[in-house]
């Protein structure tokens, strides 16, 4: 009798534990939209939309991002493309993608020969630790790619 009574009335410890588990479940549910992140497939899809079927080459891009970002809400990013920026040969555009964000596209920069230097900086949101991928589109149709991992301590994007 006493044993069955005990099972019906949870002890304080059990009760606290159950609360914790419940809280965890709630947290998981609220995090789900962020969990439904753009994976590398979504990034590939987004890339295709911007550059078509061109296979990206390595090199020519200097991508500057912090290795560890304490605040994912504002992560500085600098992209520089090695290009003479002459009327015949220049970098047309730079596209930035984030593999672990809810949406893969981050930003696109469009340069002209009047830029003199194919370099630009901005600040972006990263939901969690992930790869940042950069594509550089040149005037001759070649596309270059570079990527870097950013460790994010506190994610951006809310959630």
């Amino acid at each position: 009798m006493t044993e069955s009574k005990e099972t019906r009335q949870p002890t304080r410890r059990e009760f606290v534990f159950a609360l914790g588990a419940g809280g965890l479940a709630v947290a998981t549910i609220t995090l789900l939209p962020a969990g439904a992140a753009a994976d590398s497939a979504a990034v590939t899809e987004a890339m295709k939309k911007l550059i078509g079927e061109t296979a990206p080459l390595d090199g020519r891009i200097t991508l500057e991002v912090p290795q560890i970002a304490e605040n994912g809400n504002t992560v500085p990013i600098t992209v520089e493309v090695d290009s003479p920026m002459s009327d015949q040969d220049y970098c047309k555009a730079v596209h930035i993608f984030a593999e672990g964000n809810p949406l893969p596209n981050v930003a696109s920069f469009r340069f002209t020969p009047a830029c003199g230097k194919a370099a630009a900086s901005t600040r972006v949101r990263l939901a969690k630790t992930q790869n940042v991928i950069v594509l550089a589109e040149m005037s001759d149709g070649k596309v270059y790619m570079s990527k870097a991992e950013v460790k994010v301590t506190i994610g951006g994007c809310g959630g």
Partner: protein, 109 residues
């Protein structure tokens, strides 16, 4: 929403052919469309600046397309060749249709 205030920093004078850096900043919440209202649980609709354009003497020099992953109060810096004296025109295009503009002059010797 508070009025978006654009700010632009570039040298007042430059030598002909010099590559100068232009830094821009605009106050904007850049609501990503991913956040949820903590009370109702509904998604807060996206409202961001989706395009930034810099023109020099009417000709486009640099532009950027922004998505929800660009931070609030978006910062943008880029370069241009100082070819002649004139004025830069900067415009930011909001999702709600408003356009924020700013101009800056440069003297090229």
């Amino acid at each position: 929403m508070a009025k978006s205030k654009p700010r632009v920093k570039l040298p007042k004078k430059a030598a002909k052919g010099e590559v100068i850096q232009i830094k821009t900043l605009i106050s904007h919440k850049m609501e990503s469309g991913q956040r949820k209202d903590s009370k109702t649980g509904e998604k807060i609709p996206r409202q961001i600046i989706n395009k930034f354009i810099c023109k020099f003497n009417g000709k486009e020099v640099f532009s950027a397309d922004w998505h929800g992953a660009v931070s609030a109060n978006p910062y943008m810096s880029f370069y241009t060749v100082a070819s002649e004296s004139g004025s830069f025109e900067f415009s930011w295009y909001d999702d709600d249709g408003s356009v924020y503009t700013k101009t800056a002059k440069i003297a090229v010797q």
